[in-house]
């Protein structure tokens, strides 16, 4: 029986709710440690999708018939669930998109093209995921703005003094990850947002790795935009969220044109719809949004604070356990960290480790984690990364560490 004493978290019971965890891979029980890439789905989310497609499926916002009304209600109530999950002021501040990547592109294109001009500066950090770099580079190329980059220290923490030096009147936007996917670092976004606002810049927080693991309160953070992906938070793939302050979203032009984002169309002029529909052109991922609402219910039921406490315990155990492995160097040792163990081994390349662990049923990620500037900063081509979730156990971590040691023996 694995009950974490401190958080009273019944992991065995929780694991039963995730069907995909109960399978064998190469004859061994699956140990899924790639949660930063995507999480498994609880049965309640899967059932929601089955129920939606089996009983409720209809297009939203247009039908006057029963099914369409039901579908619209379910979709809009999912929006309210997400609003409460992030503690946004209003539900119209929640826009459904495909994922964090599309969310950042939406802000870069709709906000950026309208309000960022030649000579302006956008600040981001060395530890950003490519999805929080490339959309800004594209914008900079288009409007003639400039990217400035906050450096990090050897622990993988942002150098806040350098950040303050970078902030100036030219700074129009700061785009910063809540939690680094490659290092696990939890960034002090609240303080950073305050500093950015003093300089007159707006802030986008990339919450892809934040929302699934930490309590997020967008009003307390006072961020202007917060984006996250459903699939990293136990919801289906293809659904994600942009939170934006209503006054900013109001003055932004639409991102994409099409159905549902309009009030009236003639060939002379189109009248755009109100928030949030202005940013949701076309039939959205209705099932995905409802599935996300169900995942949010599930997380609320477990309690995001309890999740964070249990995951902190797992991280502590994981860090202690893998740190004992000879020849292992942790990449990312920030004081405030989410449950990500990124490391390199002296004689085993991450890619070989990934293949060998797979034969033990263990799924980890090996590579640059879409964060090539981080790899460059640490002078390594790749890391092996075990990213944990609340359904992982200390026993799994021990099994994983033993498998890493066996892999090291192969290359001795």
């Amino acid at each position: 029986m694995i009950v974490a004493e401190k958080s009273f978290f019944d992991v065995e019971k929780i694991r039963k709710e995730f069907p995909a965890l109960h399978q064998k891979v190469h004859g061994k029980p699956l140990v899924y440690l790639d949660n930063a890439a995507t999480t498994q789905k609880p049965k309640v989310v899967i059932d929601t999708l089955i129920r939606y497609y089996g009983q409720q499926n209809a297009n939203i916002h247009r039908g006057v018939y029963y099914l369409s009304e039901k579908s619209t209600d379910a979709y809009e109530s999912a929006r309210v669930k997400v609003q409460k999950f992030l503690n946004a002021r209003e539900s119209r501040e929640i826009i459904f998109v495909r994922g964090a990547t599309e969310g950042i592109n939406l802000v870069a294109q709709a906000y950026g093209r309208a309000f960022i001009k030649s000579g302006d500066e956008i600040i981001l950090s060395t530890m950003e995921h490519h999805s929080n770099i490339v959309p800004w580079q594209m914008l900079c190329d288009e409007v003639g703005a400039k990217l400035r980059v906050i450096p990090i220290n050897d622990e993988g923490e942002l150098l806040l003094k350098e950040y303050e030096k970078l902030l100036s009147q030219k700074t129009k936007l700061v785009a910063i990850g809540h939690v680094s996917n490659a290092l696990g670092t939890i960034n002090p976004v609240r303080e950073m947002i305050e500093k950015a606002h003093q300089a007159g810049a707006v802030v986008l927080v990339d919450g892809a790795q934040g929302a699934p693991h930490l309590k997020v309160d967008v009003q307390d953070l006072d961020c202007d935009f917060y984006v996250f992906s459903g699939h990293k938070a136990y919801a289906p793939t293809g659904i994600g969220v942009v939170y934006g302050k209503a006054e900013l979203l109001e003055k932004m032009p639409p991102y994409q044109g099409g159905g549902d984002m309009i009030k009236a169309v003639t060939f002379e002029k189109t009248l755009y719809n109100t928030l949030p529909y202005k940013f949701e052109a076309g039939t959205p991922h209705i099932a995905g949004a409802i599935g996300l609402g169900s995942a949010v219910d599930y997380l609320n039921q477990l309690g995001i604070e309890k999740i964070a406490a249990y995951e902190a315990e797992l991280l502590r155990h994981g860090t202690e356990t893998v740190s004992r492995i000879p020849g292992l160097r942790m990449i990312g040792t920030a004081k405030r960290k989410a449950c990500i163990l990124s490391f390199v081994l002296e004689n085993v390349h991450p890619h070989d480790l990934g293949t060998i662990l797979d034969r033990d049923g263990i799924a980890i990620r090996a590579g640059h984690h879409c964060a090539m500037p981080v790899m460059e900063r640490f002078g390594i081509p790749a890391t092996a990364r075990a990213s944990l979730s609340f359904y992982n156990t200390k026993e799994e971590i021990d099994y994983f560490a033993e498998a890493v040691e066996r892999a090291i023996d192969i290359f001795k």
Binding site: H349, P350, H351, D352, R359, G367, H368, R406
Partner: protein, 159 residues
């Protein structure tokens, strides 16, 4: 270790990974190329000295997984002293072996390179084994740009 892993990481591969042959910059090289696998970050620089269609000397530098490093090392020892056409022929056969397109008796001409036949069972690792060979082809063709194992597909890989 499972049987499949044992066949993938054969002793000769591990040995070449530990002590790669021709692991040096060849100053007098007259053909060079760089290879890159964006999926795993493997990078390879290849140096060739080619005279009258004959590969006289080979050197390589770079970082990568055991499969890609051992493959590069063994590739250099296999093609040194061969003509460009012979080297192309080896690559063709090597590639077919990894794709499972030829019977085992047809792999004999590959000599020691048959130790890589175990890669067949690991489709995601085929690119590791062929990176050096793609780079060789690029160097022989006088290509200037970095050859990527993903040149047609772009960099895939997520979060």
């Amino acid at each position: 270790m499972t049987q499949e892993l044992r066949e993938l990481y054969q002793e000769m591969i591990l040995e070449h990974n530990r002590k790669p042959r021709n692991f040096r910059v060849l100053e007098k090289a007259n053909a060079r190329a760089e290879g890159y696998n964006p999926l795993c970050g493997d990078k390879l620089k290849l140096f060739l000295l080619i005279e009258k269609g004959l590969i006289k000397e080979v050197g390589f530098q770079g970082s990568g997984c055991a499969i890609s490093k051992a493959s590069a090392s063994m590739m250099t020892t296999s093609v040194a002293g061969k003509t460009k056409d012979e080297a192309e022929g080896l690559f063709d056969r090597f590639h077919k072996m990894l794709a499972g397109e030829i019977r085992s008796e047809e792999t004999e001409a590959l000599g020691k390179l048959t130790v890589f036949s175990g890669v067949r069972e690991f489709p995601t690792r085929v690119k590791c084994a062929t990176l050096a060979w793609h780079t060789l082809r690029a160097a022989m063709e006088g290509a200037e740009e970095v050859v990527s194992t993903e040149k047609d597909e772009g960099d895939r890989g997520f979060g």
